[in-house]
């Protein structure tokens, strides 16, 4: 198999360079809203709220990842917090619901309506902000008084018009770098929420 090693080395260096240079601008411009979102989320957890996560494709794996971070924290000694990913059940995902005698696909919005409670939080992931099912779920979450947080790529797409409580838009053209920045972001949210919960006497 023919390949040019130098060419591959260049490819790898360029990939890592993007991943090394990408995060700083995002975190510098979002640092305040990240801390405020953590406090709001800690406060919801304190009241008994839960996280409900959703996304499509690789974003579904981010939704699953966030959820497991809370249920089983990788930081030893941190307590388990309630989180559910709406994308991990193939049976639910491929079923339909009957609404006014009409069978509809069971989408994220409908699932949220069935599962959610008022103190819950809806976390939606969409690389371009235009995934119809994620957008409609976030809008429904808003109507249901959930705290709404959108994780999105450049520009925010339709999410920027959804009046979410928090919108984290990564200004990045490369989908891999975008995913990596969002992963660091949700790790930081999870780490920070535990800090607020650990110091909750006067805070929440």
């Amino acid at each position: 198999m023919q390949h040019n090693r130098a060419q591959l080395q260049q490819l790898v260096s360029a990939r890592f360079e993007k991943s090394i240079l990408g995060p700083q601008a995002f975190f510098e411009s979002n640092v305040e809203s990240i801390s405020k979102a953590s406090l709001d989320m800690a406060s919801r957890f304190h009241k008994g709220g839960r996280i409900l996560t959703f996304g499509n494709g690789t974003s579904a794996t981010d939704a699953n990842h966030v959820s497991v971070e809370f249920v089983h924290p990788a930081i030893v000694g941190k307590r388990a917090l309630p989180a559910l990913s709406l994308c991990s059940d193939a049976a639910i995902f491929s079923s339909s619901v009957s609404e006014k005698n009409k069978a509809n696909d069971l989408d994220f919005a409908t699932l949220l309506e069935i599962l959610s409670q008022p103190d819950d939080m809806g976390l939606g992931f969409s690389p371009d902000g235009c995934c119809e099912n994620v957008l409609s779920a976030l809008k429904r979450a808003k109507q249901l008084k959930l705290l709404t947080i959108g994780f999105v790529g450049k520009g925010g797409g339709g999410m920027s018009e959804a009046d979410l409580d928090y919108l984290f838009a990564v200004d990045e053209n490369d989908p891999f770098v975008e995913q990596e920045i969002l992963e660091t972001l949700y790790h930081i949210l999870y780490e920070s929420i535990h800090v607020f919960l650990d110091n909750n006497e006067n805070l929440i």
């Binding site: 490819l11 790898v12 890592f16 991943s19 981010d62 030893v76 660091t184 790790h187």
Partner: protein, 240 residues
């Protein structure tokens, strides 16, 4: 990972929270903001270190996987917890690549069939949850890609050993010092993110496998082009 290490890490990032005295929300907000920026710095430094230490091995692993794909291999990815979502992420990127110029490749996540995972876990033990489906599905020449932040997950190690028995190509992505995966003879390539804190390990591992996917696609495209070139040149010498 020891509890002491984790506690130290928290202390390092939020020093004043561990001093005596009153804490108000403004103080905690400020501390969280400061630590957010230092975490960002930490992961970018870690990526640099990872590239320095295993950039060449990453290329070797990418070439080996590309060769396997071109010989008809299926890739099986697996991990525990957050790493299971990385396995799923890799599989989605193989089947439905983010770049429209890229080709799709056969990949399966061994973490998504909860019937298999719980059946094997319950009947023969959690250590075998990936071993059993590999016995059923894996063929000589296929690829096993296991992720473990500690490098010591018994079920990932067992799966690697099983895959090697079946003459599969075995690639591990680990953290810390690579743990037992780094020493295992069953592992052909062990790519290590040298860090002892799980969230940052996972973030740098994402860069590793994103880069791996890019190498695979590049190698296979070069191959496709050169095959096309050969075909054209052989066509040109054929009698009209």
């Amino acid at each position: 990972m020891t509890e002491i290490k984790q506690a130290d890490y928290q202390k390092l990032l939020y020093p004043f929270l561990h001093e005596t005295g009153a804490v108000n929300s403004e103080q905690v907000l400020k501390a969280v903001q400061k630590s957010t920026l230092s975490k960002c710095q930490e992961v970018t430094n870690l990526r640099e270190k990872t590239l320095d230490q295993c950039g060449e091995k990453l290329i070797d692993a990418g070439i080996a996987i590309a060769k396997s794909f071109s010989a008809g291999a299926t890739l099986y990815a697996f991990g525990n917890g957050g790493s299971s979502t990385d396995a799923q992420n890799i599989v989605v990127d193989c089947i439905s690549p983010p770049n429209s110029r890229w080709s799709s490749f056969p990949a399966v996540s061994l973490t998504s069939d909860i019937a298999v995972v719980t059946a094997v876990g319950n009947d023969v033990g959690f250590e075998n949850i990936f071993v059993r489906p590999l016995i059923a599905l894996g063929r000589k020449g296929d690829v096993a890609l296991g992720l473990s932040t500690s490098g010591n997950s018994p079920n990932i190690l067992a799966a690697m050993e099983q895959a090697k028995k079946q003459q599969m190509l075995t690639v591990a992505i680990a953290g810390y010092d690579g743990g037992e995966l780094a020493c295992s003879k069953a592992v052909d390539y062990c790519l290590i993110v040298p860090c002892d804190y799980v969230p940052r390990i996972q973030e740098a591992q994402a860069t590793l496998y994103h880069s791996l996917l890019e190498i695979i696609q590049e190698v296979l495209q070069i191959q496709k082009k050169s095959a096309k070139g050969k075909q054209q040149s052989s066509n040109s010498i054929e009698p009209q």
